[in-house]
Amino acid sequence: MKIRGVFIEDTFAEAFTMRVARIVITGRSPRWVRAAALKLTGFATSVIGCKCEAGIERELSAVETPDGRPGVSVLFMTMSKEDMAKRLIERIGQTVLTCPTTACYDGLPAAGDRVAVGSALRFFGDGFQISKVIGGERFWRIPVMEGEFLVQEKFGMLKGVGGGNFLILARSPDAALAAAEAAADAMASRPGTILPFPGGVVRSGSKVGSRRIKSMIASTNDAYCPTLRAVTQSALPDGVNSVLEIVINGTDPPAISAAMKAGIDAACREDVISISAGNYGGKLGPHHFHLRTIMNGTAE
């Protein structure tokens, strides 16, 4: 299969089941909403080192938020329910509670699994906090120097998917970067998905384990490193001099498939040789995103 001359490899991305929460942050102005969201989702690229993965899903207009102010929705992902509670309490407490004018709401009200967040953060109020039940949902008003921080008591949590991906194999670093930027732009703000890495792009794709250090969980994906073509079992076709990866997390497989389709289509441009994907032989992750199936429009 080729798209505009770019070869689509007959392979698949292998992804994992993760827990996902949707956090809605609102504020007086988009400036402060974004400030809080960027801090909340900072250092959240991979559970390997960050214990969570997070990203801004999309901006919300005032009519879409619970308090009628501008907002953003953030998708926040962990490997377990217990981790979700710990990470949300840490991060919302340090990044949203601290940010002027913001409030924090659950973006998955229909989810059956609930994680207690506001009920833990309320203790910052040192006994002066006030709870209010509005429409059956409990909120906490925590007094702060600016006024009050409003946070919902519990946040919904679903089983989501982490680790959808594709690789852009290009003739040059410039071509790889241009294709990755186009892909990330095409995939931005798609409901139900986030790109947790910087700018949506990963340059340091990894393989499981290490050749030398047994305790390492992951190490460089040498098969796709152009500089190692001569000294390792390379997977790179002739002419490839740079590879970039796009990693996609989402609320469900169809959301990831749709984002991958848009991203791959955008990445198929001049000086891109092929599109591949990362997998572990299909033995580790339950979600398999076959590139050709996705591009044919019949995805998982």
């Binding site: 006030i130 039940v133 509005i134």
Partner: protein, 254 residues
């Protein structure tokens, strides 16, 4: 028709205690079952709800009551789930001790709506009590949780001895709102005179009111205006004669 409708079939020329009509598990009852619930009339004594109201429709957890219910007291007392809509006025102690669900009064409510039954320590402990018109004295007295919204004017001593919960006054507040409140919130969108035992704290924009008032506007079509959502509120802490952890939030014109 998927909602129960109860139409008053006699002229209610005597006061009646309707306090046992909407106690659990009323939402599971059909029209026939609900018709057998007891009502206590001042002169005629115990009669069946079906002797006073003509019931029709199928149960879906909600009911509309039609007719002049100005002498119907204790309607929806102890309500814990479902929605009771009164299409006109209602008598005294509507929703006393309610614990959940929704009681919506399209007209005026008599004294002590949402309050504690006389002799009891706790008023409504959950749910939403919406009075579109005026409310009598001591609305929400001793309420413990929940929301009581009054679209018109409130009588004196609204929120008397509130333990917690929220009372929202769209119209004029009577004398001594929130008197002896422990942790309750009284929100006033028009003029209000806090009791002397309240202390001014600051003027600010409470975000939770945007959520709460937004719900009252969309769910119950109460007259929330943009200025109420975006405006500032004076916060008074009180009642200092009690715990002092309650508040009066008074909307402030820009």
């Amino acid at each position: 028709m998927s909602v129960l409708v109860a139409k008053l079939k006699i002229s209610l020329d005597q006061r009646g205690d309707f306090g046992e009509v909407f106690t659990p598990p009323w939402t599971t009852l059909d029209a026939g079952g609900l018709a057998q619930r007891p009502v206590y009339l001042e002169r005629d004594g115990r009669v069946a709800f079906g002797d006073v109201f003509e019931l029709s429709g199928s149960p879906d957890g909600s009911i509309r009551l039609l007719g002049d219910l100005g002498r119907a007291d204790r309607l929806a007392a102890g309500l814990s789930d479902g929605t009771v809509i009164i299409e006109g006025d209602v008598g005294a102690e509507a929703g006393v001790g309610m614990a959940g669900g929704v009681l919506e009064v399209k007209g005026d409510a008599g004294p002590r709506a949402g309050a504690a039954p006389l002799g009891y320590k706790r008023g409504m402990s959950g749910g939403e009590l919406i009075v579109h018109g005026d409310a009598g004295v001591e609305a929400g007295a001793a309420m413990r949780r929940g929301v009581l919204a009054i679209g018109g004017s409130a009588g004196d001593r609204a929120g008397l001895s509130m333990i917690a919960g929220t009372i929202i006054l769209f119209g004029l507040a009577g004398k001594d709102p929130g008197l002896w409140s422990k942790r309750g919130s009284v929100v006033a969108l028009k003029s209000i005179e806090p009791p002397l035992t309240y202390a001014y704290a600051c003027t600010y924009q409470p975000v939770h009111l945007r959520v709460m008032l937004g719900r009252l506007r969309t769910r119950f079509e109460l007259p929330v205006q943009r200025k109420h959502l975006t405006g500032s509120y004076r916060r008074y802490s009180g009642d200092m004669a009690e715990l002092g952890r309650g508040e009066i939030l008074a909307w402030t014109p820009p």
